[in-house]
Symmetry: C2
Subunit: 512 residues, 2 copies
Amino acid sequence: MNSDHPSRTSLDRRTTLQLLGGAGALLLAPTWARATAGPDLAAIRKQVVAQHDANVKRLQDWIRVPGIAAENHNMGPACAFTEQLLRDAGFQHVERVETHGQPGIFATLDAGAKHTLGLYFMYDVKQVNPSEWSSPPFDAALVDKAGFGKVVVGRGAVNQKGPEATFLAALHAIRGAGQKLPVNLVLVAEGEEEIASPHFADVVHRPDVLAALRRCEGIFMPFASQDPDGAVEINLGAKGVIELELVASGEHSGRGPSKDVHSSLKAAVDSPAWRLVQALNTLVTADGNDPAIDGWFDDVVPLSAHEKELIAAQIARSREETMLKSLGVKHWVRDMSFSEAMDRLAGQPTANIEGLVSGYTGQGGKTILPGRAVAKMDFRLVPNQTAAGAQQKLRAHLAKRGFGDIEVNVTGGYDPTTTDEHSRLIKVSQAIYHRHGIEPGLNPRLGGSWPGYIFTGEPLKLPAGHFGLGHGSGAHAPNEYYVIESSNPKVAGLDDAVMSHVEYLYELAAGF
Amino acid sequence: MNSDHPSRTSLDRRTTLQLLGGAGALLLAPTWARATAGPDLAAIRKQVVAQHDANVKRLQDWIRVPGIAAENHNMGPACAFTEQLLRDAGFQHVERVETHGQPGIFATLDAGAKHTLGLYFMYDVKQVNPSEWSSPPFDAALVDKAGFGKVVVGRGAVNQKGPEATFLAALHAIRGAGQKLPVNLVLVAEGEEEIASPHFADVVHRPDVLAALRRCEGIFMPFASQDPDGAVEINLGAKGVIELELVASGEHSGRGPSKDVHSSLKAAVDSPAWRLVQALNTLVTADGNDPAIDGWFDDVVPLSAHEKELIAAQIARSREETMLKSLGVKHWVRDMSFSEAMDRLAGQPTANIEGLVSGYTGQGGKTILPGRAVAKMDFRLVPNQTAAGAQQKLRAHLAKRGFGDIEVNVTGGYDPTTTDEHSRLIKVSQAIYHRHGIEPGLNPRLGGSWPGYIFTGEPLKLPAGHFGLGHGSGAHAPNEYYVIESSNPKVAGLDDAVMSHVEYLYELAAGF
């Protein structure tokens, strides 16, 4: 991944050699050659190397100011720290945007360029269970990780502070080399991505923010795209989601006790826990694997033939056994094939139980009849389902079956998102990956979610995606990490990841 | 409740006055008069009063050595402390009986009497959640409680250390007065009552223990029988119970993940949480209020006409509004009448969810698909259901529906128990309550459970019951208490409760 001699001649040579090695790579060398008045990448890279320690420290400091939206923990300082990072990186206008939840951030960097590029950041992180971590989750320690090299371990290391700090480092390097950013930047950030972004639309649709975003050619999210082997999968879209709690309680429904009572009373009083179980049972098919909510599939668009081809190409490059093993799973649902399962991962709406909580949850038993029962759930959505429509259908479905007493407390969610395979954002990503010897896979739709629809849907209808070399893992899990110095030549360390963002900015700009 | 002048003449006078006042009281004055060589109750009472502080301290010290079976916490010291209390009270033979779970105790007191009485003790207590207590649960503080007087607050205060310490105080008083116990005693104790007594049968059926129990006329459990108004309800029986966990997991079943994975994977993998919900749903009727397990009602004997009369008599003395309010309930199941609901409390088998635990149970949500889901449950049983039969039917029911992958982990349980209304144990209880101005209700069967079947069933077939003046409340709840000095003349404080046990022993003996 080291490009220590980034003169165009050597780049072309390396690119050609790599193109000969890769299959079906896009020949962008001619495009690059056209940009003869381009940046001095060598000088910028020199800055990247010189600023390495400062870049690492910036990321570590950021991790050490955690902001956990689900627990409303430390969000103010987390937002403020992020705002300062943006100012330090050169954004002239950085503004906290208050919402009914956690604040967002609106920032602009005017580089006097012809074109403008949008950026999406999140500054919140997932909850942690510290006892599960071998290195404390907010220490941001730099440790040796066998097979990877030196990594930063911490909550947010890869999701998303590592990649975001990597992008900011690109801005620092360009400025440090005395060069101009080739595009203006408009950045919107939220502090609620981990809780399904309930107020992000409020930030983005503020009239001046919307106007600024309308000026953008597209929007991207810095991302650590490489897997441990250096491979990259480009997601052309993502499922939508709604996250909610279904709550049954005697207090709310008037049936059953309003507090925990002795379990012998089951003979005479209703049980909110049973009520919840029975309501839940109406939501899925007999094998529990598909939603059975009235009208749920009305607007669902099945995968196209092309999308299935893309998935098939992905599968051809993957190893089913590896995936099964990493999940600790022996069979896909209904014992279907890998191909069918991956089609479902991209194309099928889901109804999932994240957690169940009722009554006594400690060791052994306790003879109580609980007054309350909760199911924490998420539902993934595909085009053309909408988060608003899904909520409405769920409530109607429950009401129709006499479960109107079940509270449906939606905490967040958003529509699915899709970006055109042929958009410049995607094409340039592919080109840069190819240049670095990577044959990126094209995934029509991620099984998970991000609020890209805010950009790809009405009224903006901009292409949106992810980009970035680099690797990390453990999002939402213990021991989340991000690679700083890579011991694997196929995987970019921090410096190379920073340079990939530098290349991305200049290459995008060249083609607008 | 003070009988400061217990000469027979004044007792007769008081009894007569009370009999004129109470309805349908049993005339036992003649029986009492026959026992002319009876005990010197005045002298015994003097000891009770003199030993008051020591009696209170004994109880406080006992509460301060908690033993929580569900958490396997401190059980060794709890058992040892109890053994010593028995030795101190005069049991010459006190033996710890090891089991595959918590140890039991077998103790005998040979008073050289003609007849022998059995006793059932439990030395374990329920779990606590200290943050819910206004006085720490194991401090055993003596506090003023408005409307009641001075009470000891602590886990086990009323359930069961208070009443058991009260009985032991009776033995101390009798001995302190230089008098003989009128009966020999055989005592069996367990440390697992709060976890449904999984090993108690092993203690009781040890050949020498069984032989000792066979010599008993009956067995009773000291109990704080009075409600806040001083009223008493005598239970002629109790439902049986089984307590268990139903567990669905990818690890055990081979379907779904063996650990928590990202929730987007619901499209491709089975969910143990949904599996559990669907299995649970097969166990009850459409409104969740009755078991729907195959064969569950095959051996159920409906309430007899007489049992329903007894319940109706209870209801006539009760206030439905009071009960509803104390439970925080607005309606009985199916909006039935108080009468129907109380019939069900005595006569209907139940299937209850004590707790649900799966995946993420903290604040907000977390986008995981959990690898495991647990339902903690208890099922109350009526004659002629058996704990063994119930387990077998539950497993068969689940297996028949394809849910054989659900683990059924039974932690404890036992059969229903019934004692003849006309047994001496019950008759003498009624007489003593009447003598103290109480008209005890007769409840054919408690909706809750105690392992009385161990005594009333094969092979012992002995009458078994509860007895004791005194009041406390909060079993299994925060701020459990037991009245020491009663500010309500209708409710016995410690000294009067101790005397009630003295009277019980002598009166039982007189009639054997």
